[in-house]
Symmetry: C2
Subunit: 281 residues, 2 copies
């Protein structure tokens, strides 16, 4: 797994980096398919929004793109992960002044995860995690490096037949899954949780909301409970790497990989082919 | 700032370390005074409790002690910071199996922070932060590496006359301060927030609760609001490095560094001299 740290090939980072000391940074996980960095512009916009929120100077996206391409060396399928930390600092939470900050940027190349095609066609099984997401509007939506809740939730099962764990917040509202966002369909309307209080606003979630809007599929972003999920007609999860996986099983409940889910999967395939937002436009 | 990584002198750590990738780890900050690692046993107990909670194999405390002493080289006043991460892992939140985990331990030496003696005698000024602490019982109490809430709270002010920022949870309950725990006194009773939902259970907080119990000072651990603080007779913050600092000013309210606070400060000085829980007992 090759990495570039601030443009230079590296395997290590300084022990004083605030990413390690406090999780003081952000990341993006980007699918590379057919040689293209999918939805690059959207990933850069979220990274910039996260940097604004944390007041970390954001690296130039052209620099990041050049570094990602350098690592890819023409590979057609892969994963690029970008981490931006606030850089080195002394002991103590106080961050260096914005104009003096020297953020560290890490661009890493990983193999494409070869998930079975059946995951998208027939769907996967998921569970509901007992680890709850804390409420914190100041950190909600951005993809920051404080991910212990997800680590704890993912440690709740090791059954290989269960692909994801859905997470509720401490009030019992459905928010997301450990590594993906969640949608459900009921009577022709597409529902997905509001992420104002917690959760990561996934790039694929936004792409799907755009697809639904341009396909005139009614959408509702709001607060939903476990009972809403159980009563759903169709259910699916999404992220930048998996695209969309229908959920065919959630705890003791079964769901069909129904028609609206497949309509959205097909529209997503077209969006990916049309290169909208990819880096080479 | 010298560091030992797994016993070896180091300045860097692997980019794949889950401490950097996810904040997947814990830390302790230990005061070294008169050549002794103060309250070493208590720090080790909290580290072990945190490792149990996160299911990270905890390094042997004798090894950590030997490494801390190696860095100290007889220095009498300093700070030792210990970080334990889950070690390296692939991309993805799933942790390596417990028996296969190879945690990384980092022992770092920092200079003793030379705070003016007046901070303890006359007290300091504090503010109330707008960054709220999220509710998460699964992470409450332990000193884990997900510290963005503290980083954001500490970034709210840069007035050098304000030494600390008190933090409420999202329900408006007082929890702690950015780098310290909070106590207040009303009509002879000592109050400190319950940390079952969020906050770090500081070693110094426990020491003070023990002092109060053995001095027959009535104590109440519970849920308190900003109004309770403002109506207090005395107010103080504590951590392992500062010991106890009375708060003489909180926003527009003034407080005396009153008699009960000074009684506890004196008892703490005796406890430090008696070496209770220090490493060389």
């Amino acid at each position: 797994m090759p990495h570039l740290l601030n443009g230079h090939s590296a395997i290590d980072i300084g022990l004083q980096d605030r990413g390690l000391q406090y999780g003081d940074g952000l990341f993006e996980t980007i699918a590379v398919r057919r040689g293209r960095l999918e939805f690059w512009q959207q990933h850069m916009q979220r990274l910039q929004a996260g940097c604004r929120r944390l007041q970390i100077p954001c690296p130039d996206s052209r620099l990041l793109l050049a570094e990602a391409r350098h690592l890819l060396q023409g590979r057609s399928e892969a994963v690029i992960k970008i981490i931006v930390t606030r850089g080195e600092g002394g002991r103590g939470y106080r961050a260096p002044e914005y104009t003096l900050a020297r953020p560290n940027r890490i661009v890493s190349l990983y193999d494409w995860p070869d998930h079975p095609a059946a995951n998208q066609r027939a769907g996967v099984a998921a569970r509901i995690c007992t680890t709850a997401l804390g409420i914190n509007p100041a950190l909600a939506g951005i993809k920051h490096l404080n991910r212990l809740e997800q680590v704890l939730a993912r440690s709740e099962w090791d059954d290989a037949h269960i692909h994801e764990g859905l997470m509720l917040d401490v009030h019992g509202h459905l928010i997301e899954a450990t590594m993906s966002n969640v949608f459900f369909i009921k009577a022709g309307t597409l529902y997905t949780p509001d992420l104002a209080n917690c959760g990561v606003a996934g790039i694929m979630r936004d792409v799907i909301l755009d697809i639904a809007r341009s396909g005139h599929i009614p959408c509702d972003i709001g607060h939903f409970s476990r009972a809403d999920l159980e009563a759903a007609d169709e259910l699916f999860i999404c992220n930048s790497l998996i695209g969309i996986w229908p959920l065919k099983q959630l705890e003791q409940y079964s769901f069909p990989a129904g028609p609206l889910t497949h309509q959205i999967i097909n529209a997503l395939d077209r969006a990916r082919h049309e290169h909208a937002g990819h880096e080479n436009i």
